[in-house]
Subunit: 251 residues, 8 copies
């Protein structure tokens, strides 16, 4: 209930125009329904510069197209993650203005210019080439959320020199997202080299006792480097989202 409406109501009570019982009935509806954060505008504010998001995983091409189209109707940006190329073709045919980011396996409908909201850059680091789709998903999400993004690919711990090489780049980032499968050791190593916040993303890359990413997840949760935080297995979106949030200038 905005102050204007509440003031009018009280003025009408004082003026005797509004019966006290009627006023009470109207006010009785107030809790929850008209709370600031409950209305659409507030929700939009919460979402900030981020696009609306659809998780494509486990949905048919038809379902994805329908939801993306529905969300896009409001004129906002829309991001659909985990969409393979075949489904993407269907969605692109059905939703005008949609584009496919193949590397990130994501569909984007970009109807609003992206506001530059970051204090610095988000750096996305990945261990192996198989981790790239998740890393690109993180990078795309952070970008759509208003951050400048840099990438550092293929710097797994079995070849440390590739990483040590780029210490400058690591330290210059505002927030670092580190994507790795198998033993998931890269975030510890990266965090040991810099004083920046590190968000670790375990991927399901591996086989046998990798248990679809559990090994990497546990490795990251048990990092011996202080200050590593973790998201769900293959959750590039969540990491990119959190990184952009952490990087965001406070207005």
């Amino acid at each position: 209930m905005d102050p204007g409406r509440l003031k009018t109501l009280l003025e009408r009570v004082r003026a005797g125009e509004l019966d006290i019982d009627e006023a009470m009935r109207e006010l009785g509806d107030l809790p929850f329904r008209d709370l600031g954060f409950a209305n659409v505008d507030h929700h939009r504010a919460l979402r900030g510069g981020f696009p609306e998001v659809v998780l494509g995983l486990g949905k048919t091409a038809e379902q994805i197209a329908a939801i993306v189209a529905e969300l896009a109707r409001g004129g906002v940006n829309v991001l659909a993650t985990r969409v393979d190329a075949q489904k993407a073709a269907h969605v692109l045919a059905a939703v005008p203005g949609a584009r496919y980011e193949e590397g990130a396996r994501a569909i984007v409908v970009e109807q609003q210019p992206i506001a530059e909201t970051g204090r610095g850059t988000v750096l996305v680091v990945s261990a192996g080439t198989s981790d790239l789709p998740i890393a690109e998903e993180a990078a795309l999400t952070a970008r759509l959320g208003g951050s400048k993004v840099e990438r550092l690919w293929d710097v797994g711990v079995a070849g440390l020199h590739r990483l040590l090489h780029r210490r400058q780049l690591l330290e210059s980032a505002e927030v670092i997202v580190v994507v790795a499968g198998m033993e998931g050791a890269l975030p510890s190593v990266v965090k040991g080299l810099v004083s920046r916040p590190v968000i670790a993303v375990p991927t399901s890359i591996g086989y046998g006792a990798s248990f679809n990413g559990i090994a990497a997840l546990l490795g990251m949760l048990n990092s011996c480097a202080s200050g590593v935080v973790v998201v769900n297995i293959d959750n590039g979106f969540g990491a990119g989202y959190a990184a952009a949030l952490m990087n965001r200038k406070r207005e």
Copy 2:
């Protein structure tokens, strides 16, 4: 190898005082040993304003006292986590200048003034009274890391009104740490209310199918609220450390 030493070396080469082969031998030792980040000063820089840390869990009072004393010798601040009252008494007797933060079950040796490094405040939120030691550990760590800290205790999801009440406080924080055991639902709810970064700390509070915090951990990793990041079970220290890092002003 500090610039001074390198310059001297080159000048001696130019002056013909130093044989090229000898110069090469000396430079050959350079990689790794004298890399900027390898020496103590750099390590100190990486650590920034954070104290040295000892995990008390699984160590005897004697071991904790010895390590804390050793670290404190350097004049830095020291934090020992997961120390019960009985062990703490022993440590305090052995280490001059140490104090016990009972709520956080931590020992602190504060030899340096804490530099105020935060852009804003770190808010620590906890679900139940049993989660308090972990929540206080997070708060203490963030404080020692240079952040102003606020607390919001006992706002579990089974009594939402206590949380909704404090939406202002939630939104005003720069970073929010949310500590919860059992089903670990509180971070999702908090993240749904605000646009701030949320670090979730699962605790081992619960019994039966809580599996010492696994239920809470999984709940947090699977949060339906975008942008929640997670640390290890009962890792209040890690959450506080990451929060202070995210809150840190860039010099």
Copy 3:
């Protein structure tokens, strides 16, 4: 053994028409075989107004059609759950009178009018759109079991306002079924708002560390809200069945 038959037997003994040895032989068969609950009528009574049920999961269209047809022969209502649209087409072609409830992925043969047996209504609440098939399965089962059913869709904990909005509806139900995947936090939040019994249904919605619904299951079993009870992952049928049972008027 019904009283009539037993009485006749004893009368024939007294009348000397039945030899004591013969009588003993006949009575010796009595335990188990003729116990009230062992015969078909009793079984029917146990089942009450509920339909016969077939779990379609893991069965071929041919097998489902055969079992449904067999059960339907007795003139009772039949419910086949977890039947996809393709299999359903086959079953409908094979079983006269069968209809497909697409939302609930279920086949119904409704040959008997549904007796209204409920004291009040069963409310089915779901967190996300992906949870809908399980939620609709619960709603359909409760309805076929004689309860009036209401639905409240898409009120996940990351957007609390949508739920708070409907507190009246929640409290007015006799029993509430809450369906949620991912972190499974919704039942705790709902139970915290009302004094009604809550049956929680974890779904396999999610990925990575959701472990096909284990995260949601554990979350619900560890609910910090007193009085939440839980069924198996994706078991919408079981929840709807239990809800209708709890709602049932005692004759």
Copy 4:
């Protein structure tokens, strides 16, 4: 905000006694803080006839005594579960009016008469003698919640006759709580015999591959008998609470 207070406020506005700005300030605080369900009275209404509850597990005798005393101050009934005899002695010495229910390992402070709120009786059934503390906890909780309670002990599935014997008793109950460890098969067998709602409580009784109750928990979640609902391992309190809720007459 209770209607009386709201009415008075509006009347004072109309009477010109209360400035509109002041009224707005007071009403502005209304959302969340004074929502019907947020104040203590409403919370009491939600709790209904149930006592305040403390989980004694993992708390010291001193902590339990302090919390129980604090809660009891309000004049309400208090229940502390999972308190062993030694701790109980301490609590009883510290809290006037507290009594120890040894069978249920629980402390009760009964300051209010228990309102009889049940439509029928709650029957608590247990498989083995080792399951008794959990079964008694369920029975005690249901009783404190206003239900008449009956008990049926030691009717494990390896000796079916003891159970079959008491079919009458089973069917006569309004709600049945079934407590079992090891393979947790009893709820399935009980549910197969009656048309009443069954709440299954797995216990941690067993060894080896019982995994502290996981075997029983999984057995109950996978019950082949329709309509069994489950609570956490050893959660006798939760089962008794839910049973009393299901049994409660609607005013």
Copy 5:
């Protein structure tokens, strides 16, 4: 209801001494209560020559003593398993006629001569010295169940020669119980050498990834040797019981 009683009842009916209604009332109670297998005699028959059993694990010395004394009152043999020496001293002091089998960590009250019921012998084989308490528990149980028992200790798979040595003994047994911890490979090797039934008992011996016997349990369940059957971790009693049952002559 034993035949004698039933005959008398029918004779009294025929003789007109018993009213038909009264007879029906008496017979009406018959199902379940007086079923052959429900009375004590039948239960005794089911139990056959086996002693009454108490699982000492998790019980206090007082509780064990009380239960053993209670069971022994009936004049039957009693076996209490998993009783350590300290508790045993208490029980022996409290229960006249009880003796402690230290190797098997079991208390025995042997009040009846053991009937020799076996067709052949039960051979108990163990892998390591740490497995002995469980192996002795199996041997003792089989012996109390009426079987002759032979023992073959310390023939782990890392020293095959000790086992190959005794092939004659292996083949001569009627049933073989094989007890092993760690990788649990011994039952496969034994079964590969003989054509006798093999009951495998995993023990909790090991550490780290033995997970308290899970490794051994899984190894045994996945035996590549056809016909190995398995019992719970550390369940020497169950294996000895099953072995004696398999070895039992049919009367």
Copy 6:
């Protein structure tokens, strides 16, 4: 080394026809290669009346056909388990004399008459219709191993009367195999009714928290009925094999 060959060797030594060094060389090869149990005849003796067995699971139709044909060449009986109808058609076309047992999803090449080796009958009991393929596999294996087999289908614990009905049949068997999925409670109930050995077979029937048969497996391992032994999930073959072995007359 057969006695004849050894005798000849020694005679040639005595006759001076064979040099002692040559004799030693020949005897030096003896261990392992010519050990009684190492030759084919002994292996055949170990296998007894059982057929050669191929696990079809995870093999192509071509692979199964090739292995079955190879084994059948020796004139023995062959059993291939876990072969679906489509693959079976291929195998039958390729292997003369092979037949498909559809109920057991098995291929049999029966080239030898089955020797009747049992002391009594093997009874196979199954809980639900979905468990039938595994139950039939057990029955077929026991039959091919020389035992008379009886079947008792669809007697799950949710409808106890169907089981109680057949107590006579249960007790008359020499060995009972009990096949059940979901909560796996049937073996406990069966064992509670009879004094015969019970082999429990968990099946992967179920969904969600059945974890492909883990729930049933754990339930059976934790059976409260003494003397239940267990095989791997879906291992009908192993249970049938063990049952025939236990039932075998000793020559």
Copy 7:
């Protein structure tokens, strides 16, 4: 930075051709970028005689072909593991000089002669025929790494004689790789027979409680034979690589 370049730099400093500041700038870049081990040559030295490796699992035929072709461009040997026959056909068509090792499910591009680097032979032992692809992968890898390889197939623990037979062969090897699924007992038995290092490879062969190789993995980690080391499930490559490394002559 190779010695030549460094020498030139210093000589130019001495000659006054290079300004000291410029020299320092150039040297400042030195750490990490030009460290000996960071350049390609060093990496090649680390890799030694081993081929470049691609894990085919989870990659499309197109992706495998592209990576193999890329790596082969350098003239080195390339190994692609876990490539099925269908994908292999595609890769062979696309990459000149590639061959398919069907038994090992691997593609090899052999452009360099294999240097014989072993002190002795690597023996690969496998338990069952289904383990062969993994065993062949190990054998192929060891061979490409410069070791002579011998094979011993189908010597599972259920038929010990086949293994005992070949003790000579076992002891003669420098390193033994043992590949086994199901209960994974073979490495323990082999290690018990010889004094050579044993590398155990668990395979995913099995079903039910084999949990895709976890049972075998745990069995191997818990081996009672001292000195068994283990690699990931199905990791024939890793075992062959480690074996060749252990067998390698030190230059």
Copy 8:
């Protein structure tokens, strides 16, 4: 059967002193009983220079003392691992010649000089100070097994510089044992730096989602660095044993 005895037997046959039937009887006993590897001498040869070993974990001081004394009677070296200081005092008092290696928590009875059997050195590397007891156990075992041992302590991945520093030392070793808890990343990093065999030892150091070493174990099994092999959690002994074996010169 040693060659001497066999030769004598054959000579007595040739000389006619031994009847052929008697000779056959004697030889018939030969398999298994007198196989070369079955007698004590062979077993000693297998064990090579290694001491006899006792796992102290889970044994009382009395048991350890008794077993160590028994083994030491033969004049060999004896190693008892996992013995805490208190138990060690007891053992030292009871066994003459025993000494306590406190760092390795092990008791050693060194009665034989250690034969130097290594080709090079075994290097033991540890990540954190809490990993030291396990690392020292590995070092001690390798030393007792005849290898020269070097140590590199406290080079965890969060501070890479300490490790990079010592690349020379790493590469100079013949075999490297790497001991690490928490995320277990150190072996991957070490293996990425050198071309030597690496044996990884996960430790139970950590808390929460380290699950007593499972996280480290999984990390090591999934190492992205080729050729890392792994032993059980906390199995320093096994790693040291395997390292000495790999390092052993072949006579």
